[in-house]
Symmetry: C2
Subunit: 252 residues, 2 copies
C-alpha cells in the first residue's frame, strides 16, 4: 500500500471542525467521501491536528494508505474536482510508510485575522473577527514577544483538556497590519487546547487596557487560566502552515 500525504485548504465556516465527536458535518468526512469516490475504497485518514468548529486552514495535512494506481498529480486533480467548494486539494505526494500527518509534525503556524475598521467587512464574515476599536500593533507586538520561548502554558489551555505536559515552545509570535486587516501569527512546537485563541483574547485585553502589558510574563508564569484573557472566537483562526522539518531559523 502507498502512503499518500494530501495537503488541503478549507473554509471551516460550514464544518464542525476537522474531526470532532459531535453531530454535524466534518471536513474529514468530506475528504473521506472524495477519496472513496476516486479510489472506490473508504480509507482511514490521519489529520495533522483537530481544528475546532468554524476554524479554517490555509494548509492542513492528511495521510492515508491506498493501493490506487493513480499518479499523485492525477489524484490531486481528481480530489480537487470532487471536493466541495470550501475544501481544496493543494497537493498530493508519496511519503515513507511510517510518515504520520500528526506524529511526524514538528511545528505549526496559526494565524488569527482581525478586521479592524469601524464598519464590518462583507468579505470577511466568518473569516475574521470584526474588532472596531483601533488595534495598537506596536503595543501588541511587544506583548506578543513575551510568548516566545519555552513556557508552561497551563494558563492558556481550556479546561476539558486531558493533556498532562503543558510545556510548549513558541518560536515566533508577531502582529502585523495590512490596511484594515490585522494578522496575529504564532509558530510553535505544539499547542494546547484553545491556546492560540486564549493568546489572542489576552492580546485584545491588553489593547483595551484590561491587562497591563508588563504583567504578561507573570500571567504566563502563574499557570492560572483565570488571569489570562478570554478565548477569542474561532472564525478568525487559521491553521496556516504545518512543518515536518523545523526551519533553521527556529532550530538554534
Amino acid at each position: 500500500m502507498r502512503n499518500l500525504l494530501l495537503t488541503i485548504s478549507y473554509n471551516g465556516s460550514g464544518y464542525c471542525g476537522f474531526q470532532v465527536q459531535q453531530n454535524g458535518v466534518t471536513v474529514a468526512e468530506r475528504v473521506q467521501d472524495a477519496i472513496e469516490r476516486i479510489t472506490g475504497i473508504r480509507s482511514d485518514i490521519k489529520g495533522c491536528s483537530r481544528t475546532d468548529s468554524g476554524v479554517h486552514a490555509n494548509m492542513f495535512c492528511i495521510n492515508f494508505h491506498t493501493d490506487t494506481p493513480l499518479s499523485c498529480h492525477r489524484m490531486r486533480r481528481a480530489l480537487d474536482a470532487v471536493l466541495p467548494e470550501d475544501i481544496s486539494a493543494v497537493s498530493v505526494e508519496e511519503v515513507p510508510d511510517d510518515f504520520h500527518a500528526r506524529y511526524s509534525c514538528v511545528a505549526k503556524r496559526y494565524i488569527y485575522k482581525i478586521w479592524n475598521a469601524p464598519a464590518k467587512s462583507p468579505f470577511y464574515h466568518n473569516l475574521a473577527l470584526h474588532y472596531p476599536r483601533r488595534l495598537d500593533t506596536e503595543l501588541l507586538n511587544q506583548a506578543a514577544s513575551c510568548f516566545v520561548g519555552t513556557h508552561n502554558f497551563a494558563g492558556f489551555c481550556s479546561t476539558g483538556s486531558n493533556v498532562t505536559d503543558t510545556v510548549r515552545t513558541i518560536y515566533d509570535c508577531t502582529v502585523s497590519r495590512n490596511e484594515d486587516l490585522v494578522t496575529i501569527s504564532i509558530t510553535g512546537s505544539g499547542f494546547l487546547y484553545n491556546m492560540v485563541r486564549i493568546i489572542v483574547g489576552t492580546l485584545l485585553d491588553i489593547n483595551e487596557g484590561k491587562i497591563p502589558p508588563d504583567s504578561l510574563p507573570g500571567i504566563i508564569d502563574s499557570c492560572d487560566r483565570n488571569k489570562a484573557g478570554p478565548t477569542a472566537r474561532p472564525y478568525g483562526l487559521y491553521l496556516d502552515k504545518v512543518y515536518y522539518q523545523l526551519p533553521e531559523e527556529f532550530s538554534k
Copy 2:
C-alpha cells in the same frame, strides 16, 4: 432636506446586482430597507453605477435625501448594524444638494481578481475567477497598456446597450500578482456595458495565445465586438473606487 452620501461595500454573490430590472433581490432594496428602518421613511436612492449580478464592490456610492436629525456618525453606525452581513456601511457624509452619486462621478476604478493556482481556493469561491493556467503578468501588463488613453471602445461593449457615444478614456490598466492572486486594475472616465469583463476576457485570450498581443491596438480600433475576447465571468469583478474629483495623476 439633507443630501447624504452613503458609501457602502458589498459582497455581490447573493444579489442580482445593485439595481436591475429582474426578479431577485438587489443591493439597492436592502439599502432602502435599512434606511427605512432607521429614518421611518423609504427614501429614493441614487447609486453611482449599475453593477451586474454577482459583481462586488469595495466602494459604492449612494446619495439620498432625508430629514433625519441623526448625525452622519450615528447614521453610519446604525446602517452598518441593520444592513445584512454582505453589505457594510463604510461612511456617511453630508453633501451639497446638487450632488448626485452617478452624475457627479468623474472616474471609477474596477478590479478583477483571478485565483491563479492549480487548486481552487476555498476562500475565493464567488470572489475571484479560478484560472489554473499560469498567468504571465509581464505579457499581460504590456497588453493592458494598449487600453490606456481615449479610444472608441465600441468593440468592448455587449450588445443590448443603447449608449451612442462609445468613446471612453482609460487612465490606468495594470496587472499585478500577490502570490496566487492576480489582480487586473482599470481606472477610467466611464465604462460601457460589460467593458471591464470583455477587457479581462481579451487579456485571458492573449495569455492563452488565442490573440497575438501586437494585434490588440488593431482590435480596439476595429470597434468589432467579435474580434475582442469573451466576456469574463462576473464574480471576479469589483467596483473598487469611485472618484468625484479626478486625481492629479490622471488630469494631465
